[in-house]
Subunit: 441 residues, 2 copies
């Protein structure tokens, strides 16, 4: 039996994760662009002692079809680092994790922004590093098609080394502010990085000193081979999507094993699969809530979501009530595409059934049930070493978050699985892990 | 006599603009990295009804000599867009203007971040667009030396067109959130930009809808010919450094004249020179305050500042008490270099006298005196059409800001030159101008 308790992230995807959530009365449908909504949600999550709140991101509207985007809430939203900076000013303990792409940014800029967020928040920043996967995003940065998967990961590997290196260009305690002597920072307290690589040449030092956490927490979500190696080497949190317990424990074991190759301890990386819960006081109540949401799905929007999840292929020529077709391997989100095919095969789903199946959880675990049923599954996965915690994906915001806090958290706490108070002031403190230092760091 | 009143910016440069300000007891010397300090300063400026607060930026530590940087407060500071995002959550009326370079960023990312800040702040965002000018910054982005001045401006011209274009990819009122029909935004309410230029190919649309101000306010500070043309075409505020009244009126007239070429009205651009005031109840008190600060300047730090201001030339071989040497034209901040040479020539300054002269104002107007003396100069420049307002540069923070608010503002208000209450809720509302629309926008 594990002696630790589990970690919880609040994954905010305004106006909730269910693709039709914005049409449901339990969502604040303007939440993607109204700061006060996010402030309310963040303060609720903090009062509930979540480890962190997490924001995903894209470098453009990722649906190929703009007309179906008009029928979703996701075509317009805050840029996540600016949003979390605002939330840093009105929260005090919860971790703040934002996604930023390594594909369309410069490492010096990314290192600065997350260091700045770590200072602004007093040590609560995390960077979810991703590679961008869609042609729609590439087209906003001068390319007709997205770079190949292997090339994106090669760039990401070097990118994260530069960022980690820059965060280390200032010593701990270098800022001394000695008014008498006129020495603001210690002699030789910061120095160049002098990185020269294939993709980047970066002198440094960073123009912001070592952060309250030493360095922001690195988060990763890739599940391909290169993605897992990158995570095993550099990440302190991995967000992942696993359907079955067997898949989850295999992924977990594989990832933790890879860490040894990079000289890291298993406990210094927390695996937190996404979890899409729909909670009711009874099973019937939960199911009714879910069906209410499912009934609001526009078929064109559901199909567009599925097209994006399988790698941007056009499905309009296929029978919605026929089987999921055989398609070539995507260059985009490989692991997500595989997840879709596995899910369809395992459950024998038609195209329509598949998009209905992913309209909330997008391939993450989906549990529709009572608090006890939801906590049973969480506990099983946690004790079987399939997860160190979960990234909770409310179907609607704030409705789904309220349900989780009011119904599921008490059951988690009753079983001793989740904290009742924060013990630390930083994100890394909540996680109880040590930073993944860069080579030589 | 002008019938309008003047605009005031609070230019925050932690820990105040005087290079030795951090050593003075009237500064909060840790202000560059402690959010609560900035919150205090911003809320003071808002209570005093400033139009905006302004943050400059660099993409690296710009001093060539890291050892002299250790003796300044400026080697470590928040990244300005993240900082203003945090301040957006704890202020409600004051404009928020941050600097971001066009040299080391992608227009899609910049357009997003400022649109996000405009939404976060309810319509108070401004983007001060600059080109980066130092080799030290270039070295953080893969180049040994900074691009040539003309090339940087060519890129900046196209960059701003892309950003303005992206801000226009969403119609006003496009977001309708019709839960019943499932239409989140209006049919055809957003569309691609399809920009194809020399430096950028950007499809769009932006993944954030039209902002509360329609578009964030564009701010410019370049004073070279290409800089003035860019400002006349696109800017709504120009920050500038002028020493004499004659220089100020010439610059002002030239800039406003250039606007006609781009079909714009003179009033839609506000010229706001920097102003470094040191205020005392008597002239003697003001002078004593200033001398206290000057006495804290470390010669190595003063010389390093001067080296940077004249374009990165090494001055270590020259006699500090000899004349300012003849130097070739800088590729960097051309107009700043010229300002230094003109100042030295006009006032007959040695190298040492020159660095002492710029240690506070860095080439901007510097007035050490009583409230009446300071307001006399402001009023004269305003009425002579040498300025539409001023960007106030406190010597120390919060001390210099407190002095300006307590001593100078009452005198400005007594003469009817500055508001007593906000009349608007947006930055553009405070300015009373119309946006510079992009070609075809």
């Amino acid at each position: 039996m594990r002696q630790d308790s589990l970690r919880l992230g609040a994954f905010f995807y305004a106006t909730g994760h269910h693709i039709a959530g914005w049409r449901h009365p339990s969502s604040e449908a303007d939440g993607g662009l109204v700061l006060s909504r996010y402030v309310g949600w963040a303060q609720k999550a903090e009062a509930a002692k979540f480890d962190l709140l997490f924001l995903e991101d894209g470098s453009g509207i990722r649906d190929g079809n703009l007309r179906s985007s008009e029928r979703t809430a996701r075509s317009t939203h805050f840029e996540p680092v600016t949003l979390l900076s605002a939330l840093a000013a009105v929260t005090s303990r919860i971790g703040l994790v934002a996604t930023t792409s390594t594909t369309f940014n410069e490492p010096y800029n990314v290192a600065r922004r997350f260091a700045s967020l770590d200072h602004l928040s007093g040590g609560r920043a995390g960077w979810n590093l991703v590679t961008s996967a869609t042609d729609a995003e590439a087209a906003n940065f001068g390319d007709d098609t997205i770079a190949r998967h292997a090339d994106r990961y090669e760039r990401a590997e070097e990118f994260v080394d530069v960022v980690l290196g820059l965060w280390n260009t200032w010593d701990d305690g270098a800022v001394i502010i000695d008014r008498e002597s006129g020495q603001f920072s210690k002699p030789d307290g910061f120095r160049p990085l002098d990185h020269r690589g294939k993709h980047f040449t970066v002198r440094g030092p960073l123009n912001i000193s070592r952060t309250p956490q030493g360095q922001p927490v690195v988060v990763q979500a890739g599940a391909s081979g290169p993605g897992k190696d990158l995570a095993a080497r550099t990440a302190e949190i991995v967000f992942t999507a696993n359907q079955t317990l067997a898949e989850a424990t295999e992924f977990y074991g594989d990832l933790k094993e890879r860490m040894a190759r990079f000289g890291r301890e298993r406990d210094d990386l927390k695996v937190m699969p996404g979890l899409f819960p729909v909670v009711g006081r009874s099973e019937d109540e939960a199911r009714a809530k879910f069906e209410d949401l499912q009934a609001l799905i526009d078929p064109a929007v559901g199909l567009a979501l599925l097209e994006r999840m399988i790698g941007g292929f056009d499905l309009s020529g296929y029978d919605l009530d026929g089987p999921v077709p055989e398609l070539p391997e995507a260059n985009g989100i490989k692991s997500r595409q595989q997840l879709m095919f596995d899910l369809a095969r395992r459950e024998g789903l038609t195209l329509r059934q598949l998009y209905l199946r992913i309209a909330g959880a997008r391939g993450h675990s989906q549990i529709v049930g009572t608090p006890a049923q939801i906590v049973d599954e969480m506990e099983e996965r946690f004790h079987a070493h399939g997860a160190d915690g979960f990234n909770i994906m409310p179907a609607t915001l704030p409705g789904g978050l309220d349900d989780f806090i009011e119904l599921v958290l008490p059951e988690l706490r009753r079983r001793g699985l989740f904290r009742t108070e924060y013990e630390a002031h930083t994100l890394r403190g909540h996680l109880g892990s040590r930073p993944a230092r860069p080579p030589g760091g």
